[in-house]
């Protein structure tokens, strides 16, 4: 197994989670190093979003989560955010009744007023077309703009690790590139990114490493420069290892 050469930022081991009786994740081990982009791939229903939620504390979980040297196995999403682990959930869930500016401000809830103002401007600078609409209510934004707004929210706290859940869903190809480019800029600024993405090709182009998830377990871990990756992924997705052909 290829091991990341970098200093680990997020270490997940033996993580299990689910919804009520439905167990979705079974003993996940995963690492994200400082300043790297890791793509988390897998077919629908594999548990990618569940994994992010379990890491950020949105779902109850068992197992061990260590972030920046701190045990975060039982902490709340708020603690995670304060520690620099920010989760941008899927489905561009912004607050439609508030303005763009207010939405971004809320991401820094609890920060000192002066500092917050600066951070908000900094984050808005990532997406000028959002910044232009700062006084519009979020309900007037298109789906793509809402997604950009959600990512902007994720930037306010200068996270050490940003988890993006399907940031490209429902976006036109141009916008997808814009959003993913922002992720690349973040990496250059030293922020690690854990990216759940449906568009495998784009994800592979962007990421340093990749995990594939199927049926609640990690079925593949690789660096993106390894050969024949798409093929191996497809195998991992439809793997013969799980369901034997019917007699």
């Amino acid at each position: 197994m290829p091991i990341s050469g970098r200093e680990p930022l997020l270490q997940v081991s033996g993580l299990s989670a689910g919804y009520g009786k439905i167990g979705v994740l079974n003993g996940i081990d995963l690492t994200v190093g400082k300043g790297e982009i890791v793509a988390l791939l897998g077919p629908n229903g594999a548990g990618k979003s569940t994994l992010l939620k379990a890491v950020s504390g949105l779902l109850p979980r068992t197992g061990k989560v260590t972030f920046a040297g701190r045990d975060m196995s039982t902490t709340s999403p708020r603690d995670a955010v304060n520690a620099g682990l920010v989760h941008v959930v899927e489905g561009h869930r912004v607050f439609t009744q508030l303005t763009v500016h207010e939405n971004v401000m809320l991401a820094g809830y609890g920060m000192a007023r002066r500092e917050l103002a600066g951070r908000v401007e900094e984050a808005l600078a990532f997406f000028p077309e959002i910044a232009e609409k700062r006084n519009d209510r979020a309900v007037t934004l298109s789906g793509g703009q809402q997604q950009m707004l959600a990512v902007t929210q994720g930037l306010v706290r200068h996270p050490k690790l940003l988890m993006l859940d399907e940031p490209s869903a429902g976006l036109s190809p141009v916008l997808v590139d814009r959003v993913l480019a922002a992720a690349a800029r973040l990496r250059d600024a030293g922020t690690a990114v854990l990216l759940v993405e449906q568009l495998i090709e784009k994800a592979l182009n962007l990421a340093d490493r990749v995990y594939a998830l199927a049926r609640g377990t990690i079925v593949l871990e690789a660096t993106t420069d390894e050969p024949d990756l798409p093929n191996r992924l497809e195998h991992a997705y439809f793997g013969q290892d799980v369901s034997a052909p019917l007699a």
């Binding site: 949105l58 708020r78 995670a80 607050f95 508030l98 809320l106 991401a107």
Partner: protein
């Protein structure tokens, strides 16, 4: 007569509106309709009379203390009756837990305070009769409280970050949690605010309604009517609905008698809800399986 209909109707309507807002504030923070709204109104009157009239406390101090007790009641409501059932799959357990708590408080009041309506002190020491009936403090105070509450909430929601956090939680508590907003603390704060508004309603309305344990049931129902008609969560709807309800009741009291008014309000309540379950001002929401 016209003066009496308007001033009394608006005043009692303002109390209904404030109780409606109390329902709304709690609903926004937790999607819970709490039976404690009427209880808070009742307590505002009873505690006010207890502190100021019985214990001879200074009116301002008593007022602050009553609101403090309201906030405390709000906190207890959240911790005892709302938080434990929010996680439950069963959607309507909160109806039962808040009802139980409200009944407990009502019964304690009935026993310790008595079942008779008791007087509430005149707050502003002016001789009655020296000012015009339009400016009677027992009519003006509830209206003033309603205006202050609306302005305060407007300021909170529109001008402060914490107010926006309330709105965010009301709209999408999951996303708010993911964003790192302290959802539990904010919900507690909402219940405390609701406690303050509810007791404020009861306190300012008590010169009219007296310090009476039976006000709980009356305020629970008549405070809910504007919420149901105006659309849940809508404070504007609650204020308009509350004032209209007060005027209607009082007009009916004058013109045809109180029992008819009660029957009419109830009939309107049922019919409107059957035709437009989301309320006159509410928007239909799509059903998702």
């Amino acid at each position: 007569m016209f003066q009496s209909i308007v001033s009394y109707g608006l005043a009692v309507g303002a109390v209904y509106a404030l109780i409606g807002i109390t329902y709304n504030v709690m609903y926004s923070a937790s999607r819970v309709f709490s039976f404690t709204a009427g209880m808070l109104g009742m307590l505002g009157g009873v505690l006010g009379a207890l502190f100021i009239h019985k214990w001879g406390m200074n009116a301002v101090l008593g007022f602050v203390l009553v609101l403090g007790c309201g906030a405390l009641m709000g906190l207890v409501t959240e911790i005892l009756t709302v938080r434990p059932v929010l996680k439950s799959i069963e959607q309507h357990l909160y109806v039962l837990s808040t009802l139980a708590f409200a009944l407990m408080i009502q019964q304690v009041t009935a026993i310790e305070w008595g079942t008779e309506a008791q007087p509430f002190p005149v707050l502003i020491p002016i001789e009655t009769g020296t000012v015009s009936a339009w400016l009677d403090q027992k009519f003006l105070l509830p209206l003033l409280a309603c205006a202050v509450t609306i302005a305060g909430l407007e300021y909170l929601y529109r001008r402060t970050l914490i107010g926006r956090a309330f709105l965010a939680i009301a709209e999408d508590s999951y996303a708010a949690r993911a964003l790192g907003l302290p959802e539990t603390r904010l919900r507690l704060a909402s219940y405390a605010i609701a406690g303050i508004i509810g007791t404020l309603a009861g306190f300012t309305g008590a010169q009219m309604l007296l310090a009476y344990f039976g006000n709980q049931a009356i305020l629970s129902f008549y405070g809910f009517v504007p919420v149901a008609l105006g659309g849940m969560g809508s404070n504007r709807g609650a204020v308009i609905g509350g004032l209209a309800l007060g005027l209607f009741q009082q007009a009916a009291n004058f013109l045809v008698g109180g029992i008819f008014a009660a029957v009419a309000v109830f009939a309107v309540f049922i019919v409107v809800l059957l035709i437009r379950p989301e309320g006159l001002a509410g928007a239909a929401t799509a059903r998702r399986v």
